[in-house]
Amino acid sequence: MMIDALGSRVLCGFVKALTGARVRWLGCPPAATQRVYYANHTSHGDFALLWACLPPDLRSRTRPVAGADYWGEPGIKSYIANHLIRAVLIERGGGTRTENPIRPMIEAVESGDSLIVFPEGTRNMTDEPLLPFKSGIYHLARSCPQVDFVPVWIENSRRVMPKGRFVPIPLLCTLSVGAPLRIEPDEDKATFVERSRNALLSLMPALH
């Protein structure tokens, strides 16, 4: 436990020093209420970045959701995901999966934890700023209607470590946190998915 806690601090320090990460809490303060942070996804490091940027008291109660296919591989990746970050690992890949991927997330929320999710479902490798959302965010919101969904735009992480490269570039990453939203009682899937996606897109800095 001691070693995990120490490793966790070291990892946080490393991620923050590398990315010079700064967080702009635009839409809400960093309060310790139960939340689902949802963000754009362009790099394997995104979930560690967002997690590292939370204040320590929030960080200890917030669990990133990550793909078991990548982060579940035995070795350093699995150690980081399971012991240091306490990720919720889910199976991806449509037809082949055996378990409902939303189930472990709901269990984490029911035990009082906050989550970090990436509703695009995969890393965005295109020139588009944001891919269409998968329906997972709707099912999660429908199961936990009392939880705030907070959009977080992650800027620059794609450039720090793009796919297929191993040397990270120490560029500054900026995280913009937007206003919380909740699902309406009668809101249908398409409407909520679109509304949450637009809330995230509105945080994108006009730098491109």
Binding site: G20, R22, N156, R158, R159, P162, K163, R165, V167, I169, P170, L171, L172, A206, L207, H208
Partner: protein
């Protein structure tokens, strides 16, 4: 390098006294107003003064370690500046190798060449070799989208943040007859004159500024601030002739040259920021913005100052 403790100490003591004075004025201004209410201009002034304390202490610490300390300090300054520059610059995945090379090979090598005093290489390494190799790396990635623009931006970042800034510690490599062992004072002169020009332009502009010089580029730059700031900083430069190999009038002319370069450098860097739609390069120095916001004038003044001395004094 540290054979001139009296002069260096005298300078640092004067700067310390000026900062104490500034801190007292800032404190009184805050107290005279409404101490509990935030006041934009005064709070920003106090933040700037606090940051000055930190910057002076960091430079002082580097000086204690002499040449090695100064070179390591400016290596990190270049690193943070390059990081701010590249973060605001459009590049693509195909530039990854060029960027990695810039940060992890070109930057340390440039400072290594300064450390060993190899003028023939550090003066052409980035303008020639980095200029040729980096676009080759980007071209090999096969991504041609906005290629010239991307290659130009990487090169510009290196020129501004590494090449130009490295000319500050490069002053230590100059061999000036009769001035041996005192080259640290050249850095003191450059940084003190150019930075006081920035501060005095800010103060003159706040007090008397009426006519904008370049409203489209930098709305805070006024004619009154420019003339008052440059004139008074040039006077400071002339008054500092005793720490330099210059005569008083030479000292004034050189101070004028680097102040004008500093002002124009600030203008160029503002134009880039404006184009990118940001006010500051970063936020690592409280009240000032980023490293490049504080150094934009030094960037443009350092190579000119270096070559004036190298041409006429060595």
């Amino acid at each position: 390098m540290m054979t001139t403790p009296q002069e260096t100490l005298a300078i640092f003591a004067s700067i310390g006294a000026a900062l104490v004075l500034a801190s007292v004025v800032g404190f009184l201004l805050k107290k005279r107003g409404t101490p509990d209410q935030p006041h934009g201009a005064i709070d920003n002034l106090n933040a700037r003064i606090r940051a000055w304390w930190v910057m002076v202490l960091v430079i002082g610490l580097a000086f204690v370690f002499g040449r090695a300390g100064v070179i390591v300090l400016f290596l990190f300054v270049s690193f943070f500046a390059l990081r701010e520059f590249m973060s605001l610059t459009y590049t693509r995945r195909g530039d990854h190798d060029a960027l990695a090379t810039s940060f992890f090979i070109v930057l340390p090598l440039q400072y290594w060449f300064v450390w060993i005093g190899w003028y023939g290489l550090y003066s052409i390494f980035i303008p020639v070799y980095a200029f040729l190799v980096l676009p080759i790396l980007s071209a090999l990635s096969g991504d041609t989208m906005r290629f010239l623009e991307r290659a130009a931006k990487v090169q510009w970042g290196l020129m501004v943040c590494v090449f130009c800034i490295s000319h500050v510690p490069a002053l230590l490599t100059l061999n000036i007859p009769g001035f041996e062992g005192r080259n640290l004072l050249l850095i003191v002169f450059l940084v003190l004159v150019v930075q006081s020009s920035d501060v005095l332009q800010y103060i003159w502009g706040k007090l008397f500024g009426r006519h904008n010089i370049a409203p489209d580029v930098s709305p805070s730059k006024t004619l009154e601030g420019l003339i008052g700031g440059v004139a008074s900083a040039t006077a400071i430069g002339a008054a500092l002739w005793w720490i330099t190999p210059f005569s008083p009038w030479q000292s004034a002319l050189i101070a004028l040259a680097i102040n004008v370069m500093g002002f124009l450098g600030g203008l160029v860097m503002s134009a880039i920021k404006r184009d990118r739609g940001v006010k500051d390069w970063g936020d690592m120095i409280e009240g000032h913005g980023g490293m490049l916001d504080r150094l934009d004038s030094v960037v443009f003044a350092a190579p000119v100052f270096f070559h004036i001395i190298r041409y006429w004094w060595t």
